[in-house]
Symmetry: C2
Subunit: 467 residues, 2 copies
């Protein structure tokens, strides 16, 4: 009947899955993490490695007042209150604890300065020194190895196996699977004596499923995600009765480069330098059109949905905040110019309009208020005036699925019929829905994954053991 048996089976090796595994290890010994790709880390490992936390040490040092309540308010505002408030509260309240855990327990290294990402009322975003999620995933994997938690690669989750009470008893998987070839792999049945944690991520790369939910997101629109970000695990959970919520809420990233594929190096350039310290202009008019620190939904609505070609521009002072500049220049994703004239000419932006735009923006910065678009003018902003200047051509790419499976505050997956937990099934991370509502704020995904991954792992590990 069963090919192998564990206390806990965790599906997915990104932030949520590994956080669940490490937390669960305090309560049970036999844990396995399954990963369908040939490398661990899912989409987490290629993310920007930004972590939001409300009331952190770096905030204290910088004299920034923040609170879980303020973070929660920011999340609900961007989410258009489509978020489940009880889940939002948990993410905000435990954000510092999760961050601190990565520092104290995992030894993750962060830069000494916070970033201010769009939609956040204050700077509250930690940056890994690598400017990459690998800065967190690697220590997590190291810790898993030390604790004897295997991360089994090339293992595709196919089906849940339920017991006579419709509780999850195990999974059917395909081992030695070579993504995406369905002809590869051998079927095995793995038993979970305690529970299964589903941390399989989002479906931004699943053209069929994402187009069903939002027909605008055709194959023509690129994604920032790794190719394994597909929907089969989510679908299998729905098949056994998990409650799907808000599946049509799919986020595009407004900061990706038109001149490279995927998330690339340009996204972090825009996020850390272009948007906060520079301006975003409409290429054909040379004018600003939006608060550059708006949440992603507002930015995408102002770009993709309004047919604007956007270019972000930053000067040599603002560019100091970009940690991917060298790579961006090398790949031609960011271009460098000695003057605004050159920049305008090369990007085919009307020169006079652009000059006026910069003058007007600089006046706002000096005044301390952006009357026109309401960008928060913080103390560390300077007028755009120091050559050389840098530009990046932007395009919106499918980035994050806000919708997914409904969980409760214990990370249990709720049954669509009863709205009671499905026995012995937990979920965390992007496969869950309802935490971010209409628009996830940048750097809140990792916080969410860490907080709910740990909750899922802790509760799953404390389920009574079968037999």
């Amino acid at each position: 009947m069963w090919d192998a048996e564990y206390d806990l089976i965790i599906i997915g090796s990104g932030f949520a899955g590994l956080a669940a595994a490490l937390e669960a290890r305090k309560h049970c010994s036999s844990i396995i993490v399954l990963e369908k790709m040939r490398v661990p880390g899912g989409n987490s490992v290629i993310s920007g490695g930004l972590v939001a936390a409300a009331g952190s040490e770096l905030q204290r040092q910088a004299g920034i007042e923040d609170s879980p309540e303020l973070m929660m308010a920011d999340m609900l505002a961007a989410g258009m209150k489509l978020n489940q408030p009880e889940l939002v509260r948990i993410v905000a309240e435990r954000s510092v604890e999760a961050l601190q855990w990565t520092i104290d327990d995992l030894g993750v290294k962060y830069k000494p300065r916070l970033s201010h990402l769009g939609g956040h009322s204050v700077p509250r975003t930690y940056n890994t020194i690598e400017t990459s999620g690998s800065g967190i995933i690697r220590p997590m994997l190291t810790r898993c190895r030390k604790l004897g938690i295997p991360v089994q690669l090339k293992t595709l989750f196919k089906r849940f196996v339920l017991d006579e009470n419709d509780e999850v008893e195990g999974v059917m998987v395909s081992e030695n699977y070579i993504f995406p070839n369905p002809k590869t792999g051998e079927i095995r049945r793995l038993r979970a004596k305690k529970a299964v944690v589903l941390a399989a991520g989002g479906f931004a790369q699943d053209i069929t499923f994402r187009t069903i939910q939002n027909p605008n997101l055709t194959a023509d629109i690129e994604s920032t995600n790794q190719p394994g970000a597909t929907a089969e695990s989510l679908i299998e959970a729905i098949r056994i009765g998990a409650t799907p919520i808000q599946l049509s809420l799919i986020q595009l990233g407004p900061w990706a480069s038109r001149d490279e594929e995927g998330f690339g190096v340009g996204s972090m350039f825009s996020m850390l330098a272009g948007f906060p310290y520079g301006i975003l202009v409409d290429r054909s008019s040379g004018r600003r059109f939006v608060n550059e620190l708006s949440d992603r939904k507002l930015l995408v609505d102002a770009m993709l949905n309004s047919g604007r070609e956007a270019v972000a521009i930053v000067d040599s002072k603002g560019v100091q905040h970009a940690s991917t500049l060298e790579k961006c220049l090398k790949r031609g994703v960011v271009k460098q110019y000695e003057s605004i004239d050159e920049l305008a000419n090369d990007n085919r932006i009307p020169l006079e309009a652009l000059k006026n735009t910069i003058l007007s923006y600089n006046a706002s910065v000096e005044k301390g208020v952006d009357d026109e678009f309401g960008k928060p003018i913080t103390d560390d902003l300077s007028p755009i005036q120091f050559p050389p200047y840098f530009s990046i051509r932007l395009i919106s790419k499918v980035h994050h699925c806000m919708g997914g499976l409904r969980i409760n505050t214990k990370a249990q997956v709720m049954h669509v019929r009863t709205q009671q937990p499905i026995g012995r099934l937990y979920a965390a991370g992007e496969i869950t829905g309802g935490i971010h509502g209409a628009s996830r704020l940048g750097s809140n995904a990792i916080t969410d994954c860490l907080v709910f991954g740990r909750i899922a792992g802790r509760n799953a590990a404390q389920e009574p053991s079968r037999r």
Copy 2:
């Protein structure tokens, strides 16, 4: 094993269910329609009885140019292209045929004038002489009786019964059920030799399920729907693998009265007179704030989501288009005033501001262009100047579920795993999703129900018979 056997089992006795039954009757003889409430007609029978059709006889007589392409463009624009285009096309292309069927086959009587509802580029809406869906439902029920199609009331659909190939073979129901008491009713199993058609409507009255999908829609927000508009049939379909799409897209009606419960009589007053022939003003400022003929989503965003208390105002000329005026006055839903001064005073609207608003609107009407808000100024609009004047206080109420089950162009329900049809299962009407996208246009629901109800009935009846 089975308590009874039919060729076709249809769940729901609204427009879609009855259209399916009547169409199916051409191809098979043994059909039953199940209805959980103690009266037939579901939400359809209390609807306004408005039917949109592109290229109709009344349009021809009035010299209005229209086409399925234009109707489709209107649906996609309001739907923010979240609609499945292949389904939209079918609704638009077969709208006239469906309308004509109600006239020629059912003997439905319509008023001789079209209405112009928000979001439609041209007037294309037929009105039943009763200003009510009962004007269509009653002849449908009469026809069912004549053709020997029983509509079995107080019968709650509980479960699908699947055969060994996971095709739908029948349903488990509770007969003599008294809504909403779960302790009532006796369980019976009904077999469908050909197929089951699910036409169980939307879930606007299901506080639990709608709040899960959109936490803003708490119990405090009223609904226009009858109390039986709950989610259990949708949920049961998801349980057997039906693909849920866009469940969080739930429409509020911006035209309902603050002074009565439910859909009431005020909704049709606003839709037929207040919005097209009058103005919508913000009570506290006395100013217009939106094109009154916007689609419902834009109107609700401009009202509920912006905290505005809205009042619609129309004069004695515009009010002639309202067919529920007497009832509205009697119930105090609409109030009548001899002067604008009286109206402003009684509604606590700043008088001078309101007078200026009316002057400015009247100037737009005379000029033929509404520069301020872009309301289409058609030939039949007049300045607001003939006393008495009428006002209605508005509040947004939960009205329609755009999301639901994914169907293909044959009205087959698609399996979430394979995206192939679930064997012998069809669906039509509000329980399906993806036809209206982000915002259903007024009077398109009946068209959708008639068109896809008939498609579902025709195809279901032509399934090969079991045994």
